[in-house]
Amino acid sequence: MLAWTIYLSFAGALVEALLPKGKSALARAVALMVALTGLVIAVTGFAGGAAQGRVVLVDAPWVPAMGIHYTLAADGISRVLVLLTGLAAVAGVLFSWNIELRTNEFFAFFLALIGGVYGVFLSFDLFLLFVFYEIAIVPKYFLIAIWGSTRREYAAMKLALYSFAGSAMVLVGLLAAYATAGSHSMGLVELGHAALPVSFQMWAFPLVFVGFAILAGMWPFHTWAPTGHVAAPTAASMLLAGVVMKLGAYGCLRVAMGLFPHGMDPWGFGFLGIGSWRDVFAVLAVIGIIYGALVALVQTDFKFVIGYSSVSHMGFVLLGLMTLNQIGVSGAVLQMFSHGVLAGLLFGIVGRIVYDRTHTRQLAELETMHLSKRLPFAAWGFAVAGIASMGLPGFSGFVAELQVLVGSWKASPWWTAAAGVGIVIGVAYTWRALQKAFFSDTPAVAHEHGHELAAITWPEVTGFGLLFGASLLVGLWPRVLLDSIEPAVKALLAGGAQ
C-alpha cells in the first residue's frame, strides 16, 4: 500500500503538467488531493506497520542480467520518514495556495519531487534508491529558478550542482561496491551480506557518506543550503529543509553506514584525538551545529536565520548517526522527523505568512512594522514554533536532541559539551529573530502603516496546525515514533544493512 504514495505523486505530477494553463484553482485542488491521499496512505502504513519489522512491498526483477530488482520495502525508519514526507507535502501545498504564476507547472514539479522523496525512503535496491534520489534533484532546480526570489538562478544552479556532485560521489561508491561484491546484486540486503573487504570499506564509506551528507547540509559542504532555502519559494524551502535534507541523512544512515560499517573502524593511528572516519564526521557535525547557530545569530535576512538554523539542526542528525549507539541513532532519526516538521513550520511562517504580506525579509525593516499587533497569528505562531525548535520540553525537538546528546555522551563527552553550546546559541538566535521581527519597540515608520496586511487565510492556519500538531504530539508522546524507529535502528546497527 505504501508504494502507492510514489505512483500517486508521479501520476499527480503528470496530471498537473497536462492541465490547461490558467486553471489555478483546479491545479491547487488536484495537488491538495494528491498530497492528502499520500498522507492518508502514509498514516495508514505507519499505523498498520507499527508492530512489524521490515516489510517488502514489491520485489520484481528489473534488469535480471545485472541483478537489479525493483524492491520497495518499509521498515520502522522508512515509515517514519514517509509519514514526514506526507505531512510536508500537504503543508507545502497549503502554504503555496497563493501561487498564481504557472500554477500547474509548479505543482507538477512539486509532486515529482515528492514522488522521488517517497521513493528514496522506500527503496531497498541501491540502483532504485539512486534513481529516486536523482529524480528529486531536477524539480528542485526548476522550483527555485522559476518561482524563487533573491538570486534565484544562482541559488538554483548552486543547489543542483552541489546535489549532482554529491550524487556523483555516491554513484562511484555504489558502482564500486557492486563490482567489488561480484556484480550479482544491487539489493541493499544482499550487498550488506556481501562482506566487502575492510580496506575497500575504508575508502568507500567516506566517499558515499560525504556524497549523501552534502545534501544533509554537513559543514563545510552546507553552503548550498542557506542560499537555496532563501531563494526558494516557500513550499520549496519547506520541502528542502523538511524532507530533502533528510534524504541526505537517510542515505548516510541506510547506505553509507549500512553498507560499509567497517568504514568507521579506527584507522590505527590518531591525530588530535581523531582516529577514524567516525570521529572526522562527528567533529564536522559538531562544527556544523555551532557554526550554523553562530551564523544564524548575525543574519539580517529573516529567512537566512532559518536557513542557517537548519544547518545547525541537521548537525544534530549527523552527530546522532556517528554515535553508533541505539539511543543516539534513534535520536538522529527522531530529529530528522522533528526538524522536518519544525523547519517546514518556520519557513512557512517566514516565507508565506510574513514575506508574502510585507514583501521584505530584512529584520531591520520588519522591526518597524510592529507585526505582533498587525499579524498576531504570525507572531505567536513563530514564538511557539521557535520554542519548539530551540528544544523546549513538550515538543519533538526536545526529545530528539536529548537522545542525541545522551547518545553522544556515551561516545565522547566532548561532543556533547560542544553540541550543548550549540543549543544555547540556538535559543539566542531564535529569540533575537522573534524579537526583531515581531516584538520590536522601534518606532513605526509612518508610511508602513499605510496599507492593511491581508488577513490570514484558512490554508495557512490548516498548514500551521498540521505541522505544529505533529511536533506537539511527538513531543508529548515520543513513543509513537520511537516504537517504530528503535527496532529498525537496532537491526541496522546489529547486522550491517539489516
Binding site: 503538467a17 528489473w62 534488469v63 535480471p64 542480467a65 545485472m66 507547472e105 540502483f127 539512486f130 534513481v131 536523482e134 529524480i135 534533484i137 531536477v138 532546480y141 526548476f142 529558478a145 522559476i146 538562478e153 538554483a156 544552479m157 543542483a160 550542482l161 549532482f164 556532485a165 550524487s167 556523483a168 554513484l171 562511484v172 558502482l175 564500486a176 557492486y178 563490482a179 556484480s183
Partner: protein, 513 residues
C-alpha cells in the same frame, strides 16, 4: 570467391543503394514539377522504406558472414547485426525528421546520399578486413562531406564541409598509413590475422613500429568518433551543417565507427583463452596456433587499451569543459558529443571478452544516437522559427511550444544522465561493465573521473533548459511545428523515457543477435 554468397551477405547494403537510386529516379523523373514539400515527403518516405527493407534483410541473415579462403571479411550477427540495425533505425528517424525542412531544393539527392552513406555504415559495422574497413569508412565519409555542404545558400555550411573534408582526408591518410604498417607487421589484411601476426611480431611488448601503427589507426578512427585531440572538426561541422545532416553525423556515423572499434577490441582479445602475468610476461594461451602456451607480452593488447585510455580521458575533459563556454547550442552538442565519445572509449579500453562490454557500448551509442537526433530535431525547429541556434533562441520555449520544450527537457536531461531516462541507465551500464572487467585502482579512478565529468555536464545542459523554462521570453509568438515532426520528436522522447524505465527490454534485444 563465391559471388552468390557475397550478394546474400551484402543484401542490406544493396537494398539501401537500390532505394537511393529509386529515390533519385522518382524525384528527378516524376516529381520535377511538384511542390517542394511533396518531393521532400516522397523522398523521405521512400528512404524510410529502403531502411525497413534493409532491416528485414539484416534480420534474414543466417550465415556467419562472407569469407575468403576461410577468413571472415564481412560478419553477420552479433555486434555487427546490432550496429547495422542501429544504423538503419537512426537513418530512418533522421529521414522522418526531414519532412518539413526547406534548406535544399534537391531533396532527392539529399536522401539518396544519406542512404548511400548509411550503406557505408553497414559495411563498416560488418567489416573484418582492413581494406573493406577502409572502403566502408570512405563510403560513409564522402557521403557525410556532401551532406554537410548541402546548405548551398549558407556560407557556414560550405566552410564546415571544407573543414570536415580536409580533416577527414588527412585522417583517412593516417588510417591507411597505419593499416599499411599493420599489414607489414602481420602479412595479412584480415583483422584476426593482423592481431595474431602482431602478437608474434611483438612478443616482448609493443614494438615502436606497432605502437606507431596503432597510434595512426587510432588517429584515423578518433577522427570518426570525434575524440580529443582529433575533434577539431566537430564543433564547426555541427554548427554549419544542415540540421538533418548534423544529426546524421552525430548518430549514424558514430554508431558505425564505434561498432568498428568494438570489432577491433574484440578481435584483439579473440585469441586469448586466458592470460595472466607470470615473471614479467603475460602468458597467453593462443587458441588457433599449434603451440599451446606462448610466453610473451602481446603488443596489441598492451598498447591498444593504453592509447584508448589516453584519448578517452582527453575527450571527457576537453569535451565537458569546452562545452561550458559555448553560446551556440549546436556547438554545445558537439562538445558534449566529444565528452560522450570519451565515456564510450573508456568502455572500449576496459573491454572484456564477455559479451557484456560490447552490449553496454552498443546500448550507449544507440540510445545516445537516438537522443541526439531528437535534440537536433528540436534545434532544427527552433532555428526555423528564430533563425538562430544561440542559447537565447531558446528563450521562453515553454510558452512558445510547451510540447517541444518538454521534449527538449527530456532529451537534454537524458544526455546529462538523469534517471529515469535512458542516458542514466546507459552510463550506469557502461561504467558497471568497465568495473567488472578491471579491478584495481585505475578503473575506479577513471570511472570516478567520468562520473565527475558528467556532473559537470549538467551545468551546460541546464543552461539550455534554463532558457527554455526559467528565463523570461522575449518573443511569445507560438512556434508552429509540423505534425509529423512533432510526432517523431514525441516518439523519441517517449522512447527515451520508456527505455530508461524498462532498460532490460533494449538490453535483451541487443543480446538477442
Amino acid at each position: 570467391m563465391n559471388y552468390g554468397e557475397l550478394f546474400r551477405v551484402t543484401l542490406p547494403e544493396t537494398a539501401l543503394d537500390l532505394a537511393a537510386l529509386l529515390v533519385l529516379l522518382v524525384d528527378l523523373a516524376f516529381l520535377r514539377k511538384a511542390a517542394l514539400q511533396v518531393r521532400v515527403a516522397m523522398a523521405a518516405v521512400l528512404g524510410v522504406v529502403g531502411c525497413l527493407a534493409a532491416m528485414w534483410a539484416v534480420g534474414m541473415q543466417t550465415s556467419a558472414g562472407f569469407s575468403v579462403d576461410g577468413l571472415l571479411v564481412l560478419a553477420n550477427g552479433g555486434v555487427s547485426a546490432v550496429a547495422q540495425m542501429g544504423v538503419l533505425i537512426l537513418t530512418a528517424v533522421t529521414l522522418l525528421l526531414l519532412i518539413d525542412s526547406s534548406f535544399t531544393k534537391h531533396p532527392g539527392e539529399f536522401v539518396a546520399v544519406t542512404l548511400m552513406a548509411a550503406s557505408g555504415g553497414l559495411v563498416i559495422s560488418a567489416a573484418r578486413d582492413l581494406l573493406v574497413i577502409f572502403i566502408g569508412l570512405e563510403l560513409l565519409s564522402i557521403g557525410l562531406y556532401i551532406l554537410t555542404a548541402f546548405g548551398k545558400t549558407s556560407a557556414k555550411s560550405a566552410e564546415a564541409a571544407l573543414k570536415y573534408y580536409l580533416f577527414g582526408g588527412m585522417s583517412a591518410a593516417f588510417l591507411l598509413f597505419g593499416f599499411s604498417y599493420l599489414y607489414g607487421l602481420s602479412g595479412s589484411t584480415n583483422l584476426s590475422r593482423v592481431v595474431l601476426g602482431t602478437y608474434m611480431a611483438s612478443a616482448h611488448g609493443a614494438t615502436p613500429l606497432l605502437m606507431l601503427a596503432l597510434v595512426l589507426v587510432v588517429a584515423g578512427l578518433g577522427f570518426k568518433v570525434a575524440a580529443a585531440p582529433f575533434h577539431l572538426w566537430a564543433p564547426d561541422t555541427y554548427e554549419g551543417a544542415p540540421a538533418p545532416a548534423a544529426a546524421f553525423i552525430a548518430s549514424v556515423s558514430k554508431v558505425a565507427s564505434f561498432a568498428l572499434l568494438i570489432t577491433i577490441s574484440h578481435t584483439a582479445l579473440h585469441f586469448m583463452e586466458s592470460f595472466h602475468f607470470k615473471g614479467g610476461y603475460v602468458t597467453v594461451r593462443v587458441l588457433s596456433a599449434g603451440d599451446p602456451e606462448l610466453h610473451m607480452t602481446p603488443g596489441f593488447i598492451t598498447a591498444w587499451p593504453l592509447i584508448l585510455i589516453l584519448i578517452s580521458v582527453a575527450s571527457m575533459i576537453v569535451g565537458n569543459l569546452a562545452a561550458l563556454a559555448q553560446t551556440s547550442v549546436r556547438r554545445l552538442l558537439a562538445y558534449s558529443a566529444i565528452a560522450h565519445a570519451g565515456y564510450i572509449l573508456l568502455g572500449l579500453a576496459f573491454f572484456s571478452w564477455e559479451p557484456r562490454s560490447a552490449q553496454a557500448i552498443l546500448y550507449y551509442i544507440l540510445t545516445y544516437g537516438l537522443t541526439t537526433i531528437g535534440a537536433f530535431g528540436v534545434i532544427g525547429v527552433v532555428e526555423r522559427a528564430t533563425g538562430s541556434d544561440k542559447l537565447d533562441a531558446f528563450l521562453g520555449l515553454h510558452k512558445r511550444s510547451p510540447l517541444l520544450a518538454a521534449v527538449l527537457l527530456i532529451l537534454f536531461l537524458s544526455l546529462a544522465g538523469i534517471p529515469p531516462l535512458v542516458g542514466f541507465w546507459a552510463k550506469f551500464n557502461l561504467f558497471a561493465a568497465v568495473l567488472s572487467v578491471g579491478g584495481g585502482f585505475w578503473p575506479f579512478a577513471l570511472v570516478a573521473l567520468a562520473v565527475a565529468m558528467s556532473a559537470v555536464s549538467l551545468y551546460y545542459y541546464l543552461q539550455v533548459l534554463k532558457r527554455a523554462y526559467v528565463m523570461p521570453a522575449v518573443d511569445e509568438t507560438p512556434i508552429r511545428v509540423h505534425p509529423v515532426t512533432m510526432l517523431v520528436l514525441v516518439a523519441i522522447a517517449a522512447a527515451v523515457v520508456l527505455a530508461g524505465c524498462f532498460p532490460a527490454v533494449l538490453q535483451n534485444w541487443i543480446a538477442s543477435f
